[in-house]
């Protein structure tokens, strides 16, 4: 009887030890699982992948927004000055109008096309075709995208593409599609695209110097408009299909601006003007083209405007280069310019083009008809902005530009 009691005690003790071990193992595993889950959450595992809405928006608002919106607004709208993309970009344009203005742009590193909603601040990647190191991009309103880079042999490449309308089925988590297209002729030195159709006007080197060529967006139907010993032309196609050429500018070097008439004759608009940079706004209805141009003489920048061919040019009370300006649509001859603070310094154009000097600009509104200028916005002192590549949407509600310091993309709301 005593032996049996001892065995029972031993079995009970073994049972307690086994149950204790199992309980300990359970709590150990639970602690480890919780730790792993916390680490995974910290790394972003298990968090819902951002899904685009029907409008292509993301599900959370951007930083740096204000709340001055109505109750019906689904998200906060961006601040008046919003850094749309901090990483370098290659080009941008506005699409849509009124309540549906979007800013479409190309990322420099990948060549991906993105779109930012100006009202909600949400950004969506539209394409998934990798085209690395895009130095310049042009976008037309009908969906054509031109991405320019340099190949390993030093040739300038130009890819002309269209954003595909069918989604890649292998990428279920993204609505991005392919950028379908082909490469145009190599070594297109400078390029302009029609803002709507994407029809091209470009300069390309040939044996005699350079040729100015027009073509459809895909490079077909090429037509040489001009053969020139000068290669460094900057072409522009306006929305009404007119074509303009301005010589690439340099400090103190006389430059000329021309319109290429339909019969191929060059009609001189400006020049000789030292350091000439020009922005033109054509007016098919009135025929009164508006010109905004700058000159650089002995290190001094000056800005002029003329509304109508016979009008007397007026010098505007700001010192900047027209590279920092854009005409506004809508009524009136209004333009917006970045104006360097303080003195721009000697040989500003040359050093600025080389990336050896940057300005810290304020945004000014130019009334070319009245010959006046008023300061609209000065960025905070801790946010130096060197304005370039300015564009304005059709309803003159938004202004986009690149910061030449880092090629980041910014949006400024003109209408409150």
């Amino acid at each position: 009887m005593k032996t049996r009691a001892i065995i029972e005690y031993i079995l009970a003790a073994v049972l307690v030890v086994i149950l204790g071990s199992l309980a300990g193992w359970y709590f150990f595993l639970r602690t480890q699982t919780e730790t792993t889950a916390l680490q995974s959450a910290a790394r972003g595992f298990g968090i819902a992948i951002p899904e685009g809405s029907a409008g292509g928006d993301t599900s959370s608002p951007p930083q740096g927004t204000d709340t001055g919106v109505s109750g019906m607004e689904p998200a906060q709208r961006p601040a008046q000055l919003w850094q749309v993309e901090q990483k370098p970009t290659a080009g941008h344009t506005f699409l849509g109008s009124g309540e549906n203005v979007r800013l479409r742009y190309v990322e420099r590193a990948s060549g991906y096309v993105f779109e930012a909603n100006t009202k909600t601040g949400f950004r969506t990647r539209l394409t998934n075709t990798l085209l690395p190191k895009i130095y310049e991009a042009l976008i037309s309103e009908n969906g054509h995208v031109f991405e320019r880079s340099i190949d390993t042999l030093g040739n300038i490449t130009t890819f002309a593409g269209t954003i595909s309308t069918s989604t890649d089925s292998s990428s279920a988590s993204s609505s991005a599609t392919m950028l379908l297209g082909s490469y145009l002729a190599k070594n297109i030195v400078s390029l302009s695209a029609h803002p709507v159709s994407g029809a091209l006007l470009y300069t390309v080197a040939d044996a005699g110097g350079g040729a100015v060529v027009s073509a459809e967006w895909d490079g077909l139907k090429q037509k040489t408009l001009l053969g020139s010993a000068v290669l460094s032309w900057r072409p522009t196609v306006t929305e009404d299909g007119r074509t303009f050429l301005v010589q690439a500018a340099a400090d103190d070097v006389p430059g000329y601006a021309y319109e290429i008439m339909k019969d191929g004759v060059l009609k001189r608009l400006l020049g000789p003007t030292p350091g000439l940079v020009m922005r033109i706004r054509t007016s098919p209805k009135t025929g009164a083209d508006a010109l905004l141009w700058s000159q650089s003489t002995r290190g001094e920048l000056r800005l002029f405007a003329r509304v109508g061919e016979q009008a007397t040019p007026v010098q505007l009370p700001v010192r900047t280069t027209a590279d920092k300006c854009a005409w506004s649509g809508g009524d009136g001859a209004v333009a917006y310019c970045g104006v360097p603070g303080g003195s721009a310094g000697q040989n500003f154009l040359d050093t600025w083009y080389r990336g050896a000097m940057h300005s810290s600009d304020a945004l000014w509104r130019i009334d070319a008809g009245a010959g006046t200028a008023e300061m609209m916005y000065t960025p905070p002192s801790n946010t130096p902005i060197d304005i370039e590549n300015v564009s304005i949407d059709r309803t003159a509600g938004y202004l986009a530009f690149t910061n030449a310091l880092d090629k980041s993309l910014w949006l400024f709301r003109l209408k409150q």
Binding site: P50, E51, R108, R123, R125, S174, L405
Partner: protein, 163 residues
């Protein structure tokens, strides 16, 4: 009329004379054109973004990381492009002559790992046939071992983006 010019450097005088067929009327006019002096600029060739042409390196520059590739651009040099075989690039780093990269002599890669992180870069660009072309420049480049130590504009974006 296009006038071929043997060498772009120095000063060229171009003259034109207009004469009537009987030689009674004539006039000569000339213009003196001085070539611009070459200017050497150095840029970082970023692995993602390519050559950062918008950010020329100053004579004293700090960069994040321990390795970087640099691209030199001789503005106003007599060349079709940077790969023109007539251009001669003579690189020196901390006074040591560095053989130019045969495929891309205008570029130089420096790895500052296991060193003090300071590179004194000198470059001289000459032309194979035009002995008047000569451009020299020097840069003091400090590499910091940590990216956080150097100002870098390519940080993460500041808003949501759908990828």
């Amino acid at each position: 009329m296009t006038l071929p010019v043997e060498h772009l450097f120095g000063t060229d005088v171009i003259s034109v004379e207009a004469r009537s067929s009987d030689g009674k009327l004539s006039h000569i006019s000339s213009v003196s054109i001085s070539a611009a002096e070459p200017i050497l600029a150095l840029y970082e060739n970023h692995p993602l973004y390519g050559v950062l042409y918008h950010r020329a390196l100053s004579s004293a520059t700090s960069l994040g990381g321990t390795e970087a590739t640099f691209a030199a651009i001789p503005f106003f040099a007599q060349a079709r492009n940077i790969y023109d075989a007539a251009l001669r690039f003579d690189w020196r780093v901390n006074s040591e002559k560095i053989p130019a990269n045969p495929t891309n002599p205008g570029e130089l890669t420096i790895n500052a790992e296991n060193s003090t992180g300071i590179a004194f870069v000198e470059l001289q660009v000459t032309h194979a046939t035009n002995f008047f072309l000569e451009a020299k420049e020097r840069w003091n480049i400090t590499f910091s071992s940590s990216w956080a130590d150097a100002p870098d504009q390519f940080r993460q974006s500041n808003g949501p983006t759908q990828y």
